[in-house]
């Protein structure tokens, strides 16, 4: 098998390391979210749902303003 030039192998090593860090961060964040949901329960849902509704309303306003609110 052809040996990778040193610089390329360094790039791949960096990318792999970064991927591993990213994966760790994803896992940690998902565990944190589940933990918050367990701890706060109803309150977690109230905050999250308010955010979802507000962001949806902002999306609708943006789409209407730009003429994309109706389906073709």
């Amino acid at each position: 098998m052809e040996q990778l030039p040193k610089s390329r192998s360094i790039v791949i090593e960096e990318v792999e390391k970064d991927r591993e860090h990213n994966l760790r961060s994803i896992i940690e964040h998902a565990i944190w979210e589940a933990c918050m949901c367990k701890r706060l329960g109803r309150e977690w849902f109230r905050i999250r749902d308010q955010w979802l509704e507000d962001s949806w309303k902002a999306d609708i306003l943006f789409l209407e303003k730009n003429g994309f609110h109706r389906a073709c």
Partner: protein, 218 residues
Amino acid sequence: MVSIVETIRITNNILFKPSDKTLFLEKEILTIEDRLAIMFSKTLNDIGIRYSIVAGYVAILFGRARRSDDIDFISERIEQDKFLKLCVSLMKQGFNSLQGNLDTIDSVKKLYNEYLLSDLSIRFYYNNYVLPNIKYRFEKTLLHRVSIEKAYSVVINSMHKLMISPLELQIVYKLYLGSDKDLSDAIYLYNLFKEIIDWRELEKWSSYLRVDLSLLRK
């Protein structure tokens, strides 16, 4: 009224009743995703169509802090007449389809023949709001059939009933898909429902899909 004795408390607003695999969820605000899922589910129930909600909305329903542009429904295969009935009912409630008009019979037949029978999804939007929308398709694979046959019930605020894919299958399938978003959903669901997850089921599906469960143990 749910008897506390036969339930397992997941959070102060989520209870699980193992005997009939039902999750009870209490929440103050119904989001647009919830309202669409509830309306669409009720319509399917009323017409007698078996279905299951799969993918991202399952995690969002149980509190994941993210949006989705669609809610994925898989139903059993139905005859064209039943599909016409479904479309009439959806139209009366303010739904339409992105791929055709529900108010013309030819268009509805086209949706049935060219999309559903070809195993493609139809997107239904509500009241001119194109996002989020309902992504609806017929079951095709073994996993789709299991999602419907072994679906969990979710009762929201003691009045709205939804059917969702079994949690174990959802978790393994999301690990199999493997994008950042899917991994997050899988890990979130696993950690939230750890006490009620059946490891034998997880292992069964992971061996079918050749998925490594070690991420869940981290």
